[in-house]
Symmetry: C2
Subunit: 209 residues, 2 copies
């Protein structure tokens, strides 16, 4: 399996490094995916939304056919939806990949690449209305949404849950459990302050407060 | 506030990007920390434990006095405990910093820098016995441990909980709540498979299964 993670200027760091870490642990516990690649438009370092500088492993031109593509979100997506090279990269890969995953506002890049029409999908709580306004997406306010070979998740940290769910489905639950144990992903249930009581909190969160 | 995150070859990606993201959101919601720096021994790109290549913002020589230093873990720590330049960087910064945080096996780097003797601290579940064998650390099997100005956490993903707890203490709970909401950190409670029932699971996890 070739797993590629697409990055671009102002991609949100945890959106893609959460899943990157889970995929790395998956490889550690079971040898899959055999290749894990950070993909950029060129091979030059890319400055992410919070200022981290990451060097892609391959450029679009160098990237092999991927079996699984993950697309993060971040402020950069608002510009990248107009980047035809990036949108074409997604749609060309889509002709042959097995699965595509997006985190947070990465959903909007999948939509622009023509992959979400009529599909169930989600995004960061602050962009749910914007996703609905596209008119052709069945917006679901869950943390992880799976529709055929298209997986989308809520914002930023939700990419970790997304990748674990994908591993559980693609390999099996025991493998996902080994990844979860290796990365010690048994998060605190603490909810600080009152922000999560906001009326714009996503549906899955409102169900629990 | 100057926040520095130390990285080195084979540092574990999520160990430092989890806290990096939370610190970036902290800056977004309240303007603090004013500076957030990835610090490497030189300014050259560093390959992390799962293969991600990150370019430090500053080298040890260029790094200003930090108010807060975060030290991640990863396989690289086993080599870096013998790297006097790195250990000296920590111990020199320690003369003036306000707080130090470590994630996972970053604990062993703090210990080598002389910061943990007689202190309560923790690490990744797979290194708890090794931490106990040092003889002078009061090893606590909690997810986040706070002893004076020294904060340590369990493995890999626990750095997210560590940084949120640090923000709640240093700023206030409402600010931590805004960071948690912005990063949509309301993780799934799913535990896949049976790995977490292992007899070597950490104490805080055993209490919940």
């Amino acid at each position: 399996m070739n797993l590629g993670i697409l990055i671009f200027p102002d991609a949100e760091e945890l959106d893609f490094i959460g899943p990157w870490e889970m995929a790395g642990m998956w490889n550690m516990v079971s040898g899959v995916p055999e290749r894990r690649l950070i993909v950029g438009e060129s091979g030059d370092p890319i400055t992410c939304a919070k200022g981290l500088s990451v060097v892609p492993h391959v450029s679009f031109d160098q990237c092999p056919q991927l079996d699984v593509l993950l697309v993060p979100g971040g402020q950069g997506t608002r510009k990248e939806v107009e980047n035809s090279a990036l949108i074409n990269f997604i749609s060309e890969q889509a002709k042959k990949f097995e699965s595509v995953l997006s985190v947070c506002t990465g959903t909007f890049l999948l939509h622009r690449a023509g992959l979400l029409s009529g599909k169930r999908a989600t995004t960061h709580w602050n962009s749910l209305d914007r996703l609905r306004s596209l008119g052709d997406v069945n917006v679901v306010e869950e943390r992880v949404v799976h529709d055929g070979n298209i997986w989308t998740s809520a914002g930023v940290s939700a990419g970790i849950d997304l990748m674990l769910a994908f591993i559980a489905k693609t390999a099996d639950e025991e493998t996902a459990g080994k990844v979860q144990f290796a990365s010690e992903y048994y998060p605190s249930a603490i909810r600080y302050g009152a922000a999560h009581h906001s009326p714009v909190a996503p549906g899955y969160l409102k169900k629990t407060v």
